[in-house]
Structure formats: C-alpha cells, structure tokens
Symmetry: D2
Subunit: 296 residues, 4 copies
C-alpha cells in the first residue's frame, strides 16, 4: 500500500495534481474530482467525500449511467486479462474473485450476462463488504429489481466503493466510518478463568460450504486475541465458522476428559449482516458444555 496523501497536501496542490490524485476514486471518472477542486479546502475526509458524492448525484442520469458503465464485470474478461484498474484488482481479490473454481466462473459469467442484458450496465457491488457467497446472493436478488431501483442501488454501491478508496488513499484527522469489527473471548467456566492459549481459526464459508481460512490465532492471558479477528475494515457480509481447539486446552490443564473428549474442536457458525457492525462472539466452555451469543 502506498503512503497515503495527506488531506492538507490535497488542499494545497495544483488543481491538476488534485485531480490526478483523486481521479480514480470513481472508476475511470476523473470528472468527479474536477467538480470539487474549486471547493477546497476541505476540513475533513468526510467533507471531501460528501462533496464528490454530491457532484455525482448532481451530474444527471446520463453521466451517472456512463459512470456505472465504466465499471468492469466482476470476475469478468477484464479481470482474466489483467486489464483492471489497480483499485478494482485489489477489491476483487479481497473477496477471492481472482481464485474462482470453474463452476463459480460459470456462475458469474451467467449472472453478468443476465444482468447486462436486463439493465445495460455491469453488476456493481462494493465487494470489500461481502464474501463471495454474499456477492452471489446479492447478484441473484438484485436481478429481481426494476431498472430505476437497480440504477439507484448501483449508485449507492459506487459511493461505498468511493468511500473505501478515499479512506485508503488519504490520511486525514478523521476516518470514514467504514470499519466493522469481529472479536472473540474464551471463558473457561470449568476453572473460572479466561482460557489462555486456545488455538482458534476463523473460516469464511463459501458456496457449497467450501471454507477458507481468514485468520488463525491463539487466545492470550485474558482469553481474547491480541488483535480483533477482523478489524479496521468492513467485516464482509456472509457466513463464518470460528473453531476453537478446547480439548487440547483442558488436557493441558490436567482436567480429566473422556476418550475421545466430549468436546474437542468446537465450531461456532454465525453470519455477519452489517459490514460496519461490531460483532463479539464469545465462547463459554467446560469439557461438557458450551455457549455463545452476540455480545458487545
């Protein structure tokens, strides 16, 4: 990731440098940056984003349609050919769209065609806010919309993409409210202490129950992980399994267990619906029982 530009710098540079810097916030559409250059200085990142969004909203249906049309297909020909913008490449990779199986490719191909045919624009979704499975769900659902609804929906997604790009590109005193958080905490209710040293893995559950490791870590002395499982970014909407190796933990503590232990690896399966939400998913566990809940 390149060093972010500072908001102060952006407020001070030549108009052309400003547009050069922010021209990619909206895909292939530097005119959105041009439209706000005279409104400088911006007091915050949020003010800058709001101005660019207002400019796009004010630009009228034709320019908006051109903006939508300038987006690449998801997992489409441009992606295969490597001709995406750098931003799009990174975004599509975040949801694993660069590592599709042949079946998944076929599904995306079919959906892209159906969508193009129905609405005349490519399907646009802010992929950093979704898992692969959730993108496919969105795709199917949105194909039921009428054209006006879908135009508005696509534009909202473009604004979400713009916000995330801006937040990554520019250093400012404020951050855009784009980050969710997923955390856990293991309490050993057999011993009455936080459970230290429990290995755990977070899996993202894909189409057909395929699973992909998001993070592997271990609980610290307070039964938590040193860093959130997901933090500082949207928590992709979708289904997850958090798997805890509790059998080894109790064995190490000298607790007598059945053979095999009643509980060895404990999976907790749950779904994220708000990418910007805070999800705390704790585990209360003994060798013979466990519970979980959405905490805070």
């Amino acid at each position: 990731m390149p060093t972010p530009l500072s908001l102060d710098t952006l407020n001070a540079v030549d108009a052309k440098d400003f547009v050069a810097a922010l021209g990619g916030i909206f895909e292939h559409s530097p005119w959105a940056a041009e439209a706000v250059v005279e409104a400088r200085p911006f007091g915050s990142l949020q003010a800058l984003l709001d101005a660019m969004v207002a400019a796009v909203r004010a630009a009228g249906p034709e320019r908006q349609r051109a903006l939508l049309a300038a987006h690449p297909d998801l997992a489409g020909k441009a992606a295969r050919a490597g001709t995406l913008t750098a931003a799009s490449t990174a975004e599509q990779a975040s949801a694993g769209l660069d590592r599709l199986s042949e079946d998944e490719h076929a599904a995306f191909h079919r959906l892209n065609d159906a969508y193009q045919q129905k609405y005349g624009i490519p399907f646009i979704v802010c992929v950093r806010r979704h898992t692969k499975a959730s993108i496919l769900t969105q795709f199917e659902r949105r194909l039921a919309n009428d054209s006006a609804t879908e135009h508005a929906t696509a534009l909202d997604e473009v604004f979400r993409i713009a916000a995330l790009r801006l937040d990554q590109l520019v250093a400012a005193p404020d951050r855009l409210p784009l980050a969710g958080r997923l955390s856990t905490h293991v309490l050993d209710t057999h011993g009455g202490t936080p459970a230290k040293g429990i290995p755990l893995t977070l899996f993202e559950i894909g189409p057909g129950d395929a699973r992909r490791v998001v993070v592997e870590t271990v609980t610290n002395h307070d039964g938590r992980t040193d860093a959130p499982l997901i933090g500082g970014r949207p928590v992709p909407i979708g289904t997850y399994e958090l798997v805890f190796a509790v059998g080894a933990y109790f064995t190490a503590r000298g607790v007598p267990l059945a053979d095999p232990p009643f509980l060895d690896t404990v999976p907790l399966r749950f779904s994220i619906a708000e990418a910007e939400g805070h999800y705390h998913v704790p585990l209360l566990v003994t060798p013979w029982s466990f519970s979980t809940y959405r905490g805070s």
Copy 2:
C-alpha cells in the same frame, strides 16, 4: 433381519440344531456352542452368553489363538471378494468399511499388514461400537501393545462381537446391556417454548472431516425427536455433528432476524466415548445465542 429364534426353542431343540443355530456366534468356531449344549436350559440370554464366554476362556491359548486367527481382515481381501460370513459382512458395512476410498483402503491395508506381522493374527475390533475414524484410531493405538495385552484385548473384542450377534439372533425375556442412546431436545429460549418443527441432521465425522448422514429428522411438539437419534444399539464411538436449521424456524415464527440471520444452521460437534452410554445433547437457542451441554 431374519425372525429371531426364541430362547425357549434353543433350550428344547436337538444338540445339533442348537449348534447349527449358534455356531456363528464365534467366527468359524462352532465348538463354543458345542461346549455349552449340555448346560441347557439357560434361564436368560445373559446366562447363555456367560456360558459361551466361559467356554472360550477355558479353552486355552491355542484354541483361542485359532479363534482369533479365524477372523477376517477388516476391509481386507475376503471382504473385497465377498467371501465373509453374513455376520461379518453386516458388521463391516455398519461402520462403512464396505465403502472406503482408495486412500482409506490403502491405510487399512498397511495397518492390517503391520498388525499381522507383529501379532500373527488379524486385527479384531467390535466394529458396531465404532465409527470408521475410531476404528483407525484403535488400530494405530493397539499396534503399540505387547503381544499378551493385545491377545487379551482381541479376545475382549470377540466377546463384544459375540454378545451383539447373540442379542440379534435370539429373542429372550432379557436383552443384553448393549444399547446406548443419543437424543436431543431443542428449547426456544426466545419464546419460552419447546422448538417444534426444527429440521436437524446428524452427521458422523470421518477421517479428513468427511461427513456421512446418520439420520435426518425434525423436532416434534415437545422439541424432541419421535425416536432417539441413535437407540437400541451401541452408539458408535467417534465424532459427530448435529446440525439444526434454526433460521427457518424463527422466520416461520415471525421473529425479525438479521439478513442473513446471525444464526441459520447451528452445528454442535461432540464425540461419543462410551458406546453403551446415554448421551443427551440439547440445544437452547435464540436468534442471537445458543448453548449445549451433555444432559441426561
């Protein structure tokens, strides 16, 4: 399953018919039946079993060794060739040994060879008490035993096999204490009622996390299943996942859920250590929390 013989009949028939009926209780070893024919009548199935076991124990090391040697390999050549006894065929199928992958076949082949070479007899285990994964675990562990321990262990397994065969073959007022039980119960702690109509599936977890459906059912008005998940037989030692479709249940009750719901399909993973034990694995669930424990 053929109609069971009654104990009364067995007490009354000719010696030769008695031996013909019970000659297969011990694999290819009708002498165990012959040894007890004069001790008739037997007052209970347990008394008959005890007598046959005592006869085998009294028979001395050489005959015992011949008895052990008369057993087929697990998933071995005889099984592939279809030349097993009917009892052995059904037993091996119960643990899925008739449906092994090539990798699993190779594993069994390697272990059978190592075992034969070390102890000079085939590996014997009462497969109705184990899952495929547990059989492989037993195999590995028992290869560490010395010969005397392993001879005794194999004989104990032969007695377990005999008991299960006898219990299936003979109708008597008493049943041998061979049956475990696995049951569940779903409580909706959001609504304060038993959860009726929850579809659930019990999977057996095999080597490499492969899963096999054991039973699919649905909860009744009391949140239980009409029949135990496993009952009237040993609960095979091994690891299971019990998966409940709770999202559909709460949706049907009109409870507002996140999209996707925080909890949709809830898996509970646990292991059985005592094939004759009673395992109750309930689920207490709201749209935002769940817990389980080994109940009674």
Copy 3:
C-alpha cells in the same frame, strides 16, 4: 381427606343422597346439584361438571347473584369466627389466608369493604390457583372492572372452585384438567453428569418479599427430584425462589473452590402465570457459572 365417592355410586344413589353429596360444590347452593339429578347417569366427571356449570349459567342473574353473595369474605369475619364451610376453610388455608399478619388482615379488610361497596357481593377468587401475593394483585386489579365484567369474572372463579371441589370429592375414570406441574433438574456441567444429592428449597415469595417454604427436597441420581416440586394440583400463580445448595455439592465431589465459594446457595427467582401449566426450571451449574430457562 375423606375417601372420594365414586362416580358410579353417584349415578346410582337416591336423588336426595346425590344432592347431599354434591350440595357443597357450589357454596351454600344445593340447587345446582338438584338441577342435574335427573340427567344421570354421567359418563365422566367432566360431563357432570359441565352439566352443573350449564345449570348455573341457565339459572339467570338473580340466582347467580345469590350464589355469589353466598360466598364468605376472604380472610373475613366468618373465617376468624371459624364458621366457614369445610371446603372454604381448606381453600383459604391453602394460600395462607389463615395465617395473615395484622398488616395483611388490614389490607384484606380494606379491600373486602371496597369491593362489597362497589359490587354488592364478596370478592371471589379460586384461591387454590393463587399465592397470597397474587390474590392481593387480583383484588386490586378487579376493583377497576365495571359491574358486568366483574359479575362474569366472579362466576368464572366460582366454576373453577366447583371444578376443584368436584375433582377432590369424586373418584372417576377421568380427572379434570386442573393440575399444573413445577419440576427441576440439576446438571453439573463441570463434571458432565446429573448432580445428585443437591439439597434444594422452594420458597413462595409473599407481599414484602416474605418467604414461605413450599417444599424442601434433594436431587436424586438423575439430578431430578423424586416427585415434582408441585404436582397433581394447580401451581399457585405468583413468585417463587428455588434455592440450590451447590457449594456443599462441589465440596463433596472434591472440586477445589474459592473460600468462600463463588457460588454457594444459588437462588432462581421466577413467576408462575398459568396455574395449569407445566413449568420445568432446570439449573446448569459449575462452581463458576450457572444458567436456567423455562424448559419442558
């Protein structure tokens, strides 16, 4: 409790003996029994009750009003003077109305007066279905009713009283559906077993948080009590505390505890709203955690 009469006997005896036997089912109102004597034989207790209730409903407002007026005050002068019917005496004692404090007497006196003055009849409630605190709550609430509503409500209570009196008096193949049940179950989720030998006490919580012991017992080998905490009768509507001595249990099992133990006596406080409902209130407990829920 006198030996119940059988329904067969009641169907066969003289009309006068029938009325003598059932004349007290409705307080001081043998006419309800007289009205159904010709409808004999009754095939079930429910049919007999239904006939008597129908007779009272058909009797018209004036006779109904006389029936209501024939009831004694709750904890009133007649009770103090010992001139209640035997049935009323036992009923009022069931809710502890024979053991009121002076403050409680004053409260009942005040409410009786207010009720008499407003409706011209005594306050009638089926006391076997209520705790003392719940009776006071009913009293206060019903004073807000209009006369017609209150006449109907009082009549419904008279029918409930009649049903309970009939069910106690007459032995028949059927029982009236008047009994609720309160039960418990203690699971030791530290050891993974039912908790055997836990002393427990059920308290009824009265006005001003006064507590009265309903039952003291101990859990059996299955973690349950040999008999329901309340069974075979309505569970009086009101608030309860169920207190479990878990500290002594874990000490006896050799589990190391803090001094004093984090959990020693565990109270579960809950309320009963349906006197004929089935309430199962289990305790899942370790030395460091516990949970409860309305089970089934």
Copy 4:
C-alpha cells in the same frame, strides 16, 4: 477526606513533620515512622511501605506485641465511647460495625472476650477487606489458631491496614496494589443487543441473610454501568446479591410477557474471596432464561 500529602513533600520535610504525618499508619505507634525517617528519600510509595513493614518486622516480639495490643476492639467499648482514632473509626464504619444490632453487638462482645482471653491481644483484621459476615467468620476461625500462628496472622493484618492507610494519606506516582473491582454487563440475548436502562442493585448479604444496599445504578447503552459496582478499593470478602429489574426492561421494549412475567427481578448471588481480585459478573437474559458466570 483531607488532601493527600505528596511523597515529594514527605521526602523533604523535617523529621518531626514526617513522623507527625505518618505516625498513625501503625496504630498508636509512631516509632515505625521514626525508624525509617533517615532512609529518605523514598522513590515510591511501595518503597516507603516496605521500609516501614521491615522496621516493624525487625522490632522484635515485644514491640510487635505492644503494637498489636494498641489496637482497639472491633465494635468494642472505645468504638461505643467514640474514643477511636479517626482511621479506626472510618475503617470500622466501612464494614458497618458502627451500626450493629444488639445481637451482633453481643456476638462481637463474646468473641472479643474469648480472643483476649486466649491470646492476650485484641482481635485485629483489616476490616476494609471484609463484610461484616466475613469478619465474624474470620473471628470464629482464627480462634482455633495457636498463639504463634495468630501473632503472625495479626501482624499481617496490621500490614494490610497500614498499606491502606498509607495509600489514602500519600499522593505518589505509584499506587499500592490494593484495589479490586466488581463489574457487570447485561446482554439481551432475545434482541441480540446490550441491555440499556436496566435498573440494578447490589446488596451485601449479612449475618442471618440481612441485606444492605451497596449501590443502585442502571445499565448504559453498552449494557454496562458507567462506573464499576465496586472499584478503586478492596472488594470486601463476603456474599452479595446483584438484582436486575429485567421485567420492566422487556415490557418497555414491547416484548410480550406472561402475567406475571416468568422473570421479573433476577437475583444473582455470589461471593467474593479475593478482595484485590477483578470480578466480572455478567447477565445474559431473555424473558425465559438467564445465565451468569465469572468473567474477566
């Protein structure tokens, strides 16, 4: 509370002023302060405490015995006559020893006499670390000690008292590790959110189950209390009940409840064993279930 002296000031003042300031850290025993005056400057409060404790340990049995003897009886004549030191007065009040019932007075009187007679010194305990009930328990238990053990135990309590006095009196960059913490957190697992606005009361449970309000508060938007229930001081060893008004909360949220609600006020009863420990006692609650555990 008077403004604390700073450690810097104490390091700088005349010897006589130093002794005047710290002469009361050990009851009526300024010699402990005199003994360390030449060792100034002290780099931390802990260093100052350690020096004074070392001086007392080095002073020999006779002076130590005089120090012990200089302490007042708990709830004794001096307390009744109002002739305690200010420090002792505040300490005894902290555990409610200034508000004893006549029965409790009699109990303390009896124990004081028995203790004086057995050991020749008054019973000393750091009362800020105990509830009234726990002080009585300590009293009974320590009467079983032999003299040497009890002399050592009393001295340890004197050091605990000294540490708390010093920590209150002197401002320094470091604080002595004397503070425990008791906190709670309410999660609404019916709605999947922190439970905001739940009124709660912490009671200390005294002898004979008498209860004294420690704090009344209400949960904030995160389901926690704005301040710890007990913090910045030792958590007195003893038994507590934390009572949550959950019925009103669910009613306010529009959740349909039974009448009366199954759960209305939920008490959690637990005991504190480590006055300097961190105790987190959360409540997970629906209208039909709740659970708690020692968290972190």
